[in-house]
Symmetry: C2
Amino acid sequence: MTHKKTLLRVIPLGGLDEIGKNMTVLEYGNDMVVIDAGIMFPDEDHPGVDLILPDFSYVIRRKDKLRGILITHGHEDHTGALPYLLKELGPGVPILGTKLTLGMISVKLEEHRLKKPKLREIHPGGHVNLGPFGFDFIPVNHSIPDGVALFIRTPVGNILHTGDFKFDQTPVDGRLTDYSAIAAAGKKGVLLLMSDSTNAESPGITMSEATVGVALREIFALAEHRIIVASFSSHIHRLQQVCDAAVESGRKVVVTGRSMINNTRIARQLGYLDVAEEDLLDAYEMGDIPPERIVVLSTGSQGEPLSALARMANGDHKTVEIQESDTVVISATPIPGNEKAVSRVINRLAKAGADVRHKGSDAVHVSGHAAAEELKLMLNMVKPRYFVPIHGETRHLRAHANIARMTGIAPDNIFMLDNGDCLEITESSARVSGRVDSGVVYVDGLSVGDIGQVVLRDRQLLAHDGIVTVVIAVDLQTGQPMGEPELVTRGIVLGTDDDSLAEDAVARVSKTLAKTAREGATDHAVIKNAVRESLSQFLWERTHSRPMIIPIVMEV
Amino acid sequence: MTHKKTLLRVIPLGGLDEIGKNMTVLEYGNDMVVIDAGIMFPDEDHPGVDLILPDFSYVIRRKDKLRGILITHGHEDHTGALPYLLKELGPGVPILGTKLTLGMISVKLEEHRLKKPKLREIHPGGHVNLGPFGFDFIPVNHSIPDGVALFIRTPVGNILHTGDFKFDQTPVDGRLTDYSAIAAAGKKGVLLLMSDSTNAESPGITMSEATVGVALREIFALAEHRIIVASFSSHIHRLQQVCDAAVESGRKVVVTGRSMINNTRIARQLGYLDVAEEDLLDAYEMGDIPPERIVVLSTGSQGEPLSALARMANGDHKTVEIQESDTVVISATPIPGNEKAVSRVINRLAKAGADVRHKGSDAVHVSGHAAAEELKLMLNMVKPRYFVPIHGETRHLRAHANIARMTGIAPDNIFMLDNGDCLEITESSARVSGRVDSGVVYVDGLSVGDIGQVVLRDRQLLAHDGIVTVVIAVDLQTGQPMGEPELVTRGIVLGTDDDSLAEDAVARVSKTLAKTAREGATDHAVIKNAVRESLSQFLWERTHSRPMIIPIVMEV
């Protein structure tokens, strides 16, 4: 045979060495599909940034080849980049997901005023062909209903992409991860397994979501006053358990917070959340009901400053004022980086008189991701030839790779990829070959992609030591400095106890200007540099601080 | 009796509604003592701040009454303010602490070049009188050796101040918390208990420090390459267990990181750390020994960017380069706010090839503070009339108050104090009466106390949205604007895709200046305000960002 076989290319554009912005490209000849298109939320390293997108320019440049985008579940780290992606792709590309996943996506697309997206509902257990790819959808448990893993038939062999998953033996909705489908995939033969690494460092198994229901019912049974529960608004099973515990203990449920109101509405409409109309109460009707008959279901489990729970904690929520003996349950875990914000909200709630129950004090949260023993089970059922750990920082991918080795995958067949790496696969081989553009795109206000590392570094410097602006007037004709330089500071003190500091700083700049004048310097860059250096040295000597110094030369 | 009885005043100056800067004043007539003088470490709300001190001006103003400063243990949140306090008090005031506590304090005082402090060693089980106060020192377990609780005889009755403590039934050094002394105090009668609230939200008991030794020995037994352990350098028991596990597994110990080197030296000198000279290795000798025979004991368990472990993770440590198959153990828990930094270091270590074990994956850390059931035991042994929960945020103090109620303390006898509150106690009563100056003093570089909330808020604004400086030249004679305004930005982009933005901004400012000129405005404040408002509105419309805007008016 002289016919050169076409390669399958597997290209993760996001989700490797990071938690978030999950996105993977599969490419075979003239056909391409994308699995997930998520965002990442910025942390304190990205002051002022609203969202972080994957760099999906590779997909945009090949949009004619794109047969569809498959979404494994409705979390924003798997769906949030869709509005930005669709703005560049146009509305024609099909988006495939389960009913609830598409329901949540359509709300987001409407918010971005994206008209008539081509949403195609898939059914767990169903099958779809996109070009040379055939997709089977395997139900998996996760912290949002309706999640699927993807069993993908390709011309070179089969791939299993787990999405985010765990094995919950007693799921709240009775929908088990489909063990027989996974085992059948293993039986058919899986060339490549791509599996969720988020909890690979956690030993043992992740507890069942049902255990949270037990803890909630215990707390509800003993609470003598109002109960407020904060959770992720997309965690419909959690919301179901809160509603069930509320009804059991003779309480009505009040929903507050924009995303909580949206998601409970969609989930009820689509049949994922079962709570009777009569058990729901409008926030404005709360006054008519004694507090011991109320459960408030709220956003804000991450300590977000503008969320409903933070507003309650600060005493500026429209309808809920924290009262002595209220019980607040934070039924979530802080995403890394949010610990301090959550802790601050807990403390403010305590100050307002609430008893706050959280993961540290009660069993009110479990993870949605498989821990080490479950990852072993997945590997042992699938028995893949090649393995790529996905969805996690390097620490998690590495732990998952160790787990894969323990289950007998040959070390050479385990690929620790970076975003942008191209894994080329044939029927009998796999190797990393080249890289495509990947990385981050910052969304800041209305600006997508303008903010870069320099701007972020400037912001961090500004935050750390403040800024000193020095305005220097120079004669338009002679180029010589005129009059006294003017200093304006923000985020730094040149004064108070040591009033001479500001005067001395001006004197130092004047001296520097006199020196540059003597040397005949008229080039603004030279003058600016001299001023910056002398003032920086002066401030370090006198205050041990290193503010950003911005000399401005005005010709007058 | 017409003689008016003198009141005892108990005044916490720090440690309430916060973790850190613990400090309490006891005052009776013309005599005063201070218990602990700690610092707090700044978080992301205090960009650029180095340290946070309690406001101890109350003590300074009454320094003639001060009979001594008692330090319960050697942690910086109990000792770190001493150098700053002594600079104002002078070296004459006695500082009382146990041997190790004083050893650690004297290193700090030397660093601050404070000469000849009056350090007085106390002995657990011993007794000291200071004015009308009698102190007994009760050994307690904590995450540093040589901690004590204080049993304090005062003219109005007895006080028990627990310091930081836990009940460890199998302490590493065999030194149990002295149950009989605590029970004897309860028998004598305790008017007021002040007790550590740090872990009041944690149910059950805190595990014994000895359990960490078991986990370390398991890891050491299986590690096939070099081992690096990061921990708190003051946690001598932890260091002892690391050394023991190293020697047991045939490894030498290399100590790295300034505070780790200092503290192991002091602890060995004073007899608190038992490791043979032959089992210690200088970092520069490491090359001569195979990696599987080495344990590196390192600072950096909090992800501090300049620490030894962070340098290893970044590949710029002088003597330790992370190699494939190294095992790194982070034997500590991140202090709230440090989670992200620790996570980043773990990830970088994983990238460099290390297997990282931490609290989330292995039982390599336990807390040094008593959990709920231990707090109940303390309350039940002491049976105080009055109770003040100390050392914790409001959430922890409140949880501790709930625990106290459960053990039968009358709610009216539990005082939730704020820093600065004066609790006035007689033989038969206790009430909060008035407040003294309290609060925070920021140390930033060489400046103590200059930085205030305005500066910190400015820094946060700068970090979030950057800064735009607008320089406007006005005619010295007419007060009218001249030429074009100049815009300089940092931490914000006015350009790239949308080059017209910067030009449009200048045009908007020019228009505003033309308007103020038409209206005859020459007052700089009026011109600045008009420019700030119009530019702010413009930038919000065009970019949805709100940078700090600093108009500077130059008369030329």
